[in-house]
């Protein structure tokens, strides 16, 4: 089955370790992530000002590309792109006046009124495949991996775009359980990593990372599971700076959820590009016999 897919800029460069295991895993699950043609940058952040329509043009053009393909659903993977595209889509659906202005501004395009549903890959796994069916496809259960789901901001806020409960999200916990891992809940799993403040105030970024990493460690996590390339960068860099200030702090490996998916499905670990990760995840995986075994696949329950 083919799914219209929007990758975004970061996944093609810095976060290939988020995208490539996703594409390979979905193929193993019987889905082809089919890139929409001529996609452009989504703008990264949704415009919060009521009069700022020009910044809605970029995300809406991507939604039009999906509509032109006859698709009624667009799958995203980057948490920033998901948020920007989904909010722009809601604007086109709900605000007739702004919709008309944008459609007439883009008069070379077909008219658009929010027909395409924007979803995140985690929602496809939960709603179209299901945790039970996913767990049956697992060839290398991630046993003994105490992984803490970290959601960040943009998959859950604002409320109208949230992929799960804003207060008590469980989607990553259920995902990790389906892969056979031992998810570790911690209270700071939706606390902001500092986001774009890394550009203006890079020195503050370790103080955003500190409560998140400390809380995950205190609750027994040995790794964090992420969905967003900016969370990955900020927590990775923040952690390195904290280790310089605070001797004895153990570096926590940071994984993308798609890397754990590919690993559990028994795919070649090379597709995960662990060399691009923060916190040496490969040594933890080897310690848990999750890397050496991955080529000689074990059945679930075995």
């Amino acid at each position: 089955m083919s799914l219209a897919y929007y990758p975004g800029c970061t996944l093609k460069t810095k976060a290939r370790n988020l995208e490539e295991p996703a594409v390979a895993s979905m193929e193993a699950l019987g889905f082809k992530l089919d890139e929409i043609p001529r996609w452009n940058c989504c703008g990264a952040v949704y415009s919060l000002a009521d009069d700022d329509l020009i910044h809605q043009v970029a995300p809406v053009r991507n939604l039009i590309r999906a509509k032109e393909q006859g698709k009624n659903e667009l799958v995203t993977l980057c948490a920033f792109c998901f948020n920007t595209l989904k909010r722009a889509n809601l604007l086109m659906k709900d605000n007739a006046e702004k919709r008309d202005t944008l459609n007439s501004f883009m008069n070379e395009e077909i008219d658009y009124s929010g027909e395409v549903k924007v979803v995140h890959l985690l929602e496809v796994l939960r709603d179209e495949i299901g945790w039970e069916a996913l767990s049956q496809k697992v060839k290398l259960p991630l046993r003994e991996l105490k992984a803490a789901p970290y959601y960040g901001c943009t998959l859950l806020r604002p409320r109208e775009v949230a992929i799960d409960s804003v207060e008590d999200p469980t989607i990553l916990r259920e995902f990790l359980k389906a892969l056979g891992a031992s998810p570790v809940d911690f209270p700071e799993s939706t606390r902001c990593c500092g986001s774009y403040q890394i550009v203006s105030s890079p020195d503050d970024i370790s103080e955003y990372a500190r409560p998140i990493l400390n809380s995950a460690l205190r609750h027994g996590a040995e790794a964090l599971v992420l969905t967003c390339p900016l969370c990955d960068y900020n927590l990775g860099r923040g952690q390195k700076e904290l280790m310089k200030k605070q001797s004895g702090l153990r570096e926590m490996p940071l994984f993308y959820f798609t890397q754990l998916l590919a690993l559990a499905l028994g795919l070649d670990p090379q597709v995960c590009h662990f060399e691009l990760n923060h916190g040496s995840p490969e040594s933890l995986l080897k310690e848990r016999n999750l890397l050496s075994q991955s080529r000689s696949v074990q059945p679930i329950g075995g």
């Binding site: 970061t10 980057c78 806020r157 986001s195 203006s200 900016l230 960068y233």
Partner: protein, 135 residues
Amino acid sequence: MSVTVSPKRLRREFVKKVKELSGQNLQSCYQCGMCSGVCPAAANMDISPRRIIELARLGLEEEIAGSKTVWTCASCLACTVNCPRGFDLSKVMEAIRLLTLRKNIDQIHPEDISPEDRRELPQIAMVSGLRKFTG
């Protein structure tokens, strides 16, 4: 025809612009402080998120413009989803940022970002940073 610009008039103009850009009714806030309590950046701010709303509705433009609070906000929307009045403070923060940025007063300059950071930062960081800190 002459126009008298009084401090009172300027204050009204500021309140009006913030309302227009944010779409938020500043009077709906009842100053409970939930926004400040849940804000992960509040410790780095000189004026708390709750006080920004109070200063904004009084039209105290200079106090707000001189504060680093709106530039410390990461638009994480913790305040937005937790406000018991359904007030979207993230939109007010954006409105105040834009009132400065639209006067061509940029907060960052790409040439000041170190070559290493320019090479290493993910694209979503660069694009969002330049969107939020330049006009």
